[in-house]
């Protein structure tokens, strides 16, 4: 069969098709030494100042879901991308593409949410843009935010993953899969009412809290679209070490597990909006864990795996019954099973 001559939904899923699109189109044509690193945020030097810059576009259906709305995502997504890159987020821009006919009240609620979220995260929204398009030309409201922040002293290399070594431990700051399942159950097609709220949150406070206590974090990434499984598959690729995860240690809410069982989804690949995966020096893992647990956004943190010398370049998961299986990048959106 011939190659795709049109963009498919899978190209936006964060899986293999997305990666191919980025590599074979965007990076190919925009190529420069900064972009080629493809980290969550670009690390730049302006005069003697080191800054990180990132941008993200937000589309979500429905706009309002249990635990938040598109406004929370627009702030937290960009703040988190800066934070996991070792930066202290400072300033954001916000652009709105609005569909004709959107109730003013809905837009106002989103904007107020963004203002509150930005205040909580100590960032300022300093510039923006607005476009209104004909009914049907976009789905209610799309938001783009761009952020810049100062790189934390000594954290300039954290985003590269080069500090990771065998013996390191892998931590996550709480239950995974909440956001994806909250949005899924908010779409009325499924007729599932589940007590799950999005975990959407700015993580810079939590990350500060960890960094103020210990400098032994070797890598961080927020596990958004594609979930923790995709983060693992991404960071392990072509490295001289492997990753071993322990299914029994991964915090997953009963309700999230339940919906996943029902739909045939793997929670490892379900989206989060307030979860950071940290790779930390093995000797300091317990200290970092305690530090995470002492913060409101890390109370359910856990050590979920370790960096190992065996199976370099691959992530393996020890299943809850003691079997072993590989964790790879998902091919596209997870689809509900048929039977």
């Amino acid at each position: 069969m011939k190659k795709n001559d049109k963009i498919l939904l899978g190209h936006g899923s964060g899986g293999r098709l997305s990666h191919e699109l980025i590599r074979d189109l965007f990076v190919k044509h925009f190529s420069n030494p900064t972009l080629i690193k493809q980290s969550d945020a670009a690390l730049l030097q302006l005069g003697s100042t080191h800054v990180a810059m990132t941008t993200d576009a937000f589309v979500v259906d429905p706009l309002f879901f249990p635990g938040g709305n598109i406004g929370n995502l627009a702030i937290a997504g960009t703040v988190n991308d800066l934070s996991v890159s070792g930066a202290i987020p400072r300033y954001l821009s916000a652009s709105f593409i609005i569909e004709e006919g959107l109730p003013f009240e809905a837009l106002e609620q989103v904007v107020i949410t963004m203002a509150e979220e930005a205040r909580k995260a100590s960032v300022e929204i300093v510039t923006g843009d607005t476009k209104v398009v004909d009914r049907g030309k976009c789905d209610k409201l799309f938001i783009n935010t761009t952020g810049i922040g100062e790189i934390r002293a000594g954290a300039g290399n954290i985003a590269s993953g080069d500090l990771i070594k065998a013996g390191d431990k892998i931590l996550v700051n709480g239950f995974i899969g909440d956001h994806g399942m909250a949005v899924m159950s908010a779409r009325n097609q499924l007729h599932i009412k589940a007590p799950v709220e999005s975990d959407c949150a700015c993580l810079n406070g939590l990350i500060d809290h960890v960094f103020n206590a210990t400098g032994e974090v070797h890598f961080m990434r927020d596990a958004t679209r594609g979930g923790v499984g995709t983060v693992m598959a991404e960071i392990v690729a072509s490295r001289p070490w492997g990753i071993q995860l322990f299914e029994a240690e991964i915090p997953i809410r009963q309700a999230v597990r339940g919906i996943c069982e029902l739909l045939g989804f793997d929670p490892l690949y379900v989206a989060n909006e307030g979860k950071v995966v940290m790779v930390v020096d093995g000797a300091f893992a317990d200290k970092v864990l305690q530090q995470l647990k002492s913060h409101p956004l890390g109370q359910d943190a856990a050590i979920i795996g370790e960096v190992v010398e065996r199976h370099p370049g691959k992530t393996w998961l020890q299943t809850s019954i003691g079997g072993n299986r590989i964790v790879d990048m998902p091919a596209g959106e997870q689809l509900p099973r048929i039977c």
Binding site: L17, L190, D266, S320, I321, G323, R325, L335, R337, I338
Partner: protein
């Protein structure tokens, strides 16, 4: 989680695995014919718990995988008609037809919508009275009763803009055909959800005619291991029979109401199976009295000639003759992102499950 964790108890799993190891002396090859089983076996890493005497092979149990390429081609032809909305289970969207997929036709402008059940498709038909809504009915008795109910409901509601394109199939004919073709197996892990509807008697001919055992299994690790244990015991004592391991759900007589509904709407017809070719009385066509809801009778389309990809051995994989890793396309030209064969598309497909969960150890 209740009703799940009990069946994933690590200590019980390991002690059952030990019991199997002690009991199994003669080499035994077991085939699971349900995609849900394939997925569970790989997801939990079951093969790594079994002794060398036991080999598990995947059979033709994934609805997407056995569906013929010509069905996809015909669905694509329907999607190109004016004022038509195609409604389908998500898995089917990426299955390759001869020259395209529903996914690509959707990107090119066809109105193709993913639904979670046929009831969603009926609602789309209700909301779009000026359009024709076609539901792609695939799968075994796990999905066909819902299709039958959907058609009956559409008739009661007078929803004449709704129709079903049926590729529904039944399980016993391919189970017989596989043995007739000389596929080397010693027993079947029988499908759990299909049997909930059909009951267990539909498999009685397998021990009687072929001398092979069938154990209808649940989907959790302990279910599957217990089923393997039951089949191993049958094999060791030369006493093949039909047994129900999944007794908390499956009854010997099945679900009579669902069976009546299937009989009301569908009749058995010759159908094409990937890897097995045409099998008599193995597919479900819609009876004439429901012709108004039968897409095949409602729409006349020209369908492109079916083209199969060279090198794809989905057929042999579905028959359990080969493993996914025997295919030279596996993991190279054929991946879940760019599937060549249907077995790589559905997460119940043998190739997909091997690729996702097991690719290095194969």
């Amino acid at each position: 989680m209740k009703y799940i964790d009990e069946y994933r108890d690590k200590d019980k799993v390991l002690s059952l695995a030990e019991l199997i190891r002690k009991t199994s002396v003669k080499p035994i090859r077991l085939m699971e014919v349900c995609g849900g089983h394939t997925m569970s076996i790989q997801r939990f890493g079951i093969p790594s718990l079994l002794p060398e005497t036991i080999e598990l092979v995947s059979g033709p149990g994934c609805p997407v995988c056995v569906t013929s390429r010509s069905f996809i081609d015909q669905a694509i032809a329907y999607s190109k008609l004016e004022n038509v909305i195609i409604t389908t289970y998500g898995d089917l969207i990426r299955v390759p037809g001869s020259t395209s997929t529903l996914d690509k036709e959707k990107a090119a402008g066809a109105d193709i919508r993913m639904v979670y059940s046929i009831l969603d498709a009926l609602n789309i038909a209700k909301a779009n009275k000026h359009k024709k809504v076609i539901f792609l009915g695939i799968g075994f008795e796990t999905t066909s009763p819902a299709s039958a109910a959907g058609i009956i409901k559409a008739q009661m509601a007078g929803l004449f803009n709704f129709s079903v394109f049926s590729a529904h199939k039944i399980m016993p004919p391919p189970m017989a055909a596989l043995i007739d073709e000389g596929v080397n197996i010693n027993g079947y892990i029988g499908p759990g959800h299909v049997s909930t509807i059909t009951g267990s008697h539909i498999y009685d001919f397998i021990p009687q005619k072929y001398g092979l055992g069938v154990v209808i299994s649940g989907f959790e690790p302990l279910d599957l291991l217990q089923s393997v244990y039951m089949l191993v015991k049958q094999h060791e004592t030369n006493s093949p029979k039909v047994e129900i391991q999944y007794s908390r759900v499956v009854k010997p007589e099945g679900n009579a109401k669902a069976q009546d509904m299937l009989d009301e709407v569908f009749y058995l017809r010759k159908d094409w199976w990937r890897g097995l070719g045409e099998l008599e009385a193995s597919g479900m066509g819609i009876r004439d009295k429901y012709a108004e809801f039968d897409a095949e009778k409602q729409f006349d389309v020209e369908v492109e000639p079916t083209r199969e990809d060279k090198g794809c051995i989905c057929g042999d994989i579905l028959k359990g003759l080969k493993k996914p890793s025997d295919c030279k396309l596996f993991g190279k030209a054929c991946t879940p992102a760019e599937p060549v064969g249907a077995c790589m598309v559905s997460n119940e497909g043998a190739c997909h499950a091997y690729y996702r969960y097991n690719k290095d150890s194969q």
